[in-house]
């Protein structure tokens, strides 16, 4: 009876079950929900270790958690308040079992995961804590794993999480997604948290690529959840999903056969994930239905220009510069300006690119960013200024954040 299972089954089921149980117990009893889930996973560890993985492992975990939840409700219903909206339904045996049974239906659980995501991005919780909370509660990562992904200490993440959970416990119910007037601002916050999650995975400083792709996968799984629900499937959600898919499509080619970083224009495009590109383009089309354009739309459009060019020399730099102009209007940051300058260099040559870099306001803020020096170096090299190029690659090397970046800049110096 050895079924092969999803390598992240425990983590993902943990997120789903915590959401379902919190709906029943109430947000103020999140810790109780987490205990019940932990119990169910311990049980699986004990029993499956000896008897093998059951036929329907997710169902097994759900049944175990549900039975345990019923025990808790029977034992504690006089001592504790549970979810206020379920109120009397949990008071008698007649109504309790069918109520709980109903809430464990697949589509109910999916809605609960959505509610939980919205709950985690409460405006009373700091933005960085929101992201940690989503990872912990919705995606089932432990504090140690979150700390690992964000190059932070476990104690710092523990502290951040427990403070955020104390804030959550101030209200008794999960955020109700359907029909809420506050949906728009909360949806913005959910999208932002998922964007941060994805970016951390995609551009993050973390040396281990496995960690990065886990974060990207989670962000993509959760944005798909938003895209599946009528209330949350806005054009901006689709744009965010498009941008993630189009970037993720290039992940397999970011490291070449020797494990070295490969810049976009030199990547082996046959290694790009065609299926993800198609998904991204589909989402991008779906995103074009609204009357407003978000940063996600523009970033997705840029990613689409790259991924739909068959060869790097087919890239439409004129259009890409236009997208960057627009992005810079919406988000006038030095990093956007730098990327715009790189696109200008592709369109008009290295000197024009270097002029654009020179013109970046607040470019001193880029001086800890290795790719700032790498961009200058690359353009100087193309202009034939080998010595200046070398100097800049050396500065990029000084600021490299992981071995892959270090090897990459080193190879450029040589």
């Amino acid at each position: 009876m050895t079924t092969t299972i999803d390598e992240h089954l425990f983590r993902r089921e943990a997120g789903r079950l915590v959401a379902a149980l919190t709906r029943i117990f109430g947000t103020h009893n999140l810790a109780l929900a987490e205990d019940v889930v932990q119990d169910a996973l311990c049980r699986a560890l004990e029993v499956w270790s000896f008897h093998g993985v059951p036929e329907n492992p997710g169902g097994w975990l759900m049944t175990t958690a549900k039975n345990r939840a019923l025990d808790v409700l029977r034992r504690e219903r006089t001592a504790r308040d549970f979810a206020p909206e379920l109120g009397r339904l949990l008071e008698t045996e007649w109504t309790m079992s069918p109520t709980v049974e109903g809430l464990f239906a697949q589509h109910e659980i999916e809605d609960d995961v959505l509610r939980m995501m919205f709950t985690c991005v409460s405006p009373r919780i700091a933005e960085d804590a929101q992201v940690a909370l989503v990872l912990n509660v919705v995606s089932g990562f432990g504090a140690s794993e979150i700390a690992h992904a964000f190059l932070s200490s476990e104690a710092a993440i523990e502290k951040r999480l427990s403070r955020a959970k104390a804030t959550l416990a101030e209200s008794k119910s999960l955020f109700e997604v359907a029909g809420s007037e506050r949906i728009a601002s909360r949806l913005d916050a959910v999208q932002r948290a998922l964007y941060v999650l994805f970016s951390e995975g995609y551009h993050g400083a973390h040396p281990e690529s496995a960690v990065r792709s886990d974060l990207c996968d989670e962000a993509m799984r959760l944005v798909e959840l938003l895209a599946r629900h009528a209330t949350t499937a806005t054009p901006k959600t689709h744009a965010l999903a498009a941008l993630m898919a189009l970037h993720a499509a290039r992940l397999p080619a970011r490291l070449d056969a020797a494990g070295d970083l490969s810049p976009l224009l030199e990547q082996d495009r046959s290694r790009w994930n065609r299926e993800l590109i198609a998904t991204g383009v589909r989402y991008l089309e779906a995103s074009a239905t609204g009357d407003s354009i978000s940063v996600y739309h523009v970033e997705a459009a840029i990613a689409a220009e790259h991924t739909t060019a068959a060869r790097s020399e087919d890239t439409q730099w004129v259009r890409i510069v236009q997208h960057y102009d627009r992005l810079f209007e919406m988000q006038p940051t030095p990093v956007v300006a730098l990327n715009r300058a790189i696109a200008i260099a592709q369109r008009d040559g290295p000197s024009a690119g270097l002029d654009a870099i020179d013109a970046i306001e607040g470019k001193s803020r880029l001086e800890s960013y290795p790719f700032y020096f790498a961009a200058k170096a690359e353009l100087e090299r193309r202009r034939g200024n080998v010595a200046i190029a070398r100097e800049n690659f050396e500065r990029a090397l000084e600021h490299a954040r992981n071995p892959e970046e270090r090897r990459f800049f080193q190879s450029r110096i040589e």
């Binding site: 560890l45 029993v47 093998g52």
Partner: protein, 108 residues
């Protein structure tokens, strides 16, 4: 061939879902290996709770310290004691601080 009882004690409880799944999968593949080589004869995990019965009374328990609690047992067939010890070395409980007690089954 002789029979041996493996008694598992201790090992870290819990951890993150990811760690627990990995631990579970190590057990599954270790047990499969023992099964494939024909050394595994049976075994079960044990509940943490139970009763201790003596002539005078019956108490709840055993409430041993976590490291002494028996988590389960296996019945294994091996050539001799060194072989039985060798087979136990792959047990995933060892990597998380637990122990395997290897006891020959007394023969008639």
């Amino acid at each position: 061939m002789s029979e041996f009882l493996y008694v598992f004690r201790g090992g870290i409880e819990g951890g993150t879902p990811e760690q627990m799944q990995q631990q579970m999968q190590k057990w599954v593949s270790w047990m499969k290996q023992l099964g494939d080589t024909g050394n595994l004869k049976g075994g079960q995990p044990l509940e943490k709770t139970g009763r201790v019965v003596s002539q005078k009374n019956v108490t709840d328990g055993p409430y041993a310290e976590a490291k002494d609690v028996i988590g389960g047992y296996l019945l294994v067939e091996a050539k001799d004691e060194p072989h039985a010890v060798e087979l136990s070395r792959g047990c995933p409980v060892l990597a998380v601080g637990g122990t395997v007690e290897v006891r020959p089954i007394a023969k008639m």
